[in-house]
Symmetry: C2
């Protein structure tokens, strides 16, 4: 009955989001800040990976900040703030994804031109963040070894719209009997040629390659 109508309204809202996101992306690129939108299932290790990332980038003298989305609580902002970099929490109060204007609102007062990296930790969800552009230059999809190798096949939209896949919690791969080949094949099936990194925030494995990828993307953004 009301499906065509809800689709029409949804299309209008998505279009407004796209316009906001495009204007934010222009601003980010002008300021030379690499904006990274991190998406995954709840519990895939977004916060752990980002905490290590923020800490290591800050230790190298890079100017870094982060915003983090959750339905409720500021637990993740508090965890990320232990890195010493500026962090703000966005609470969506029931909404299953971040939207561009929520991110814009939470950047108020931050001097973007002083920043090199801005990380956006999206709400943990393998479906809803897919359609919402946040003005990022890099969308990163995480897949934990604990959650099943076929997630990319079951949620192709999320992996297909991401630029990079990061396999997380590799320290648990043995305990979980993680089938690495199956996971790589699933990622390749939905997004052929997608770069894949394998990391453990706990042991530090793979983090150098991850930071190197971020550095490359930032240099290509600023033409440096």
């Amino acid at each position: 009955m009301s499906m065509p109508r809800i689709l029409e309204v949804r299309t209008r809202i998505l279009k407004a989001n796209d316009e906001t996101a495009r204007s934010m992306r222009r601003e980010f690129e002008r300021a030379g800040v690499l904006v990274v939108n991190v998406v995954s299932s709840p519990g895939s290790g977004k916060t752990s990976l980002l905490k290590e990332t923020l800490t290591r980038l800050a230790a190298r003298g890079e100017a870094v900040a982060a915003v983090v989305g959750d339905l409720e609580t500021d637990n993740d902002a508090r965890r990320l703030a232990e890195s010493g970099v500026p962090v703000r929490q966005i609470n969506t109060h029931g909404l299953c994804h971040l939207e561009a204007d929520m991110v814009a609102k939470h950047l108020t007062g931050w001097d973007l031109t002083g920043l090199q990296y801005l990380f956006i930790e999206n709400v943990g969800n393998l479906v809803c963040p897919t359609s919402w552009d946040l003005g990022e230059s890099l969308r990163v999809a995480l897949l934990a070894v604990t959650e099943g190798e076929d997630k990319p096949l079951k949620y192709p939209g999320l992996f297909n719209t991401a630029d990079v896949a990061v396999i997380t919690k590799t320290d648990l791969a043995c305990a979980c009997e993680f089938d690495r080949d199956a996971a790589l094949a699933a990622i390749e099936a939905v997004r052929p040629g997608m770069p894949v990194l394998e990391t453990s925030a706990k042991t530090g494995a793979g983090l150098d390659a991850w930071l190197e990828l971020l550095g490359q993307r930032r240099r290509s953004l600023t033409g440096g």
Copy 2:
């Protein structure tokens, strides 16, 4: 701008879903079948728990069936069908939750009066399934030890609308440094008094208690 309108349309669709679900619940209860809606994050172990559950109930001579929702693939239906019981896959093609009429459609041709248990494995998502009644008598929220003890606080809606919480993958608790007390406190905070079971589909730990709970619920449904 269009927010009041989208809310109005959404409210109408949810209301139609509630009416379908209520009529399904009456039919399920008349048939004496306990319908269990299993919700969790992607990768929390819904399929593994259900496969063990179906296998063990069938071995006891119970008449069991299952439907399973995913955006794409019939991987989970194939895994569950290894238990030997009837299983049907629902593909939502991008939708982040199951709705009552999708379930109804996939029950066509099944004789409900011959069934004792029907399990519905929802789409892996900690947000969207919350508002969609599927006509179940029991809603079960899973929380894997791999995914962070504060999930109930971050996604209170999902845990608050469930009847039972099941902690899964307890065999990995040590490797993940799972803080059991923190997880139990988080569940208690959002849903005081909620029964909590601790299980491992891999080792079988806690499965007897889980089957006992299902049996009790079914007996109270049929007044037996």
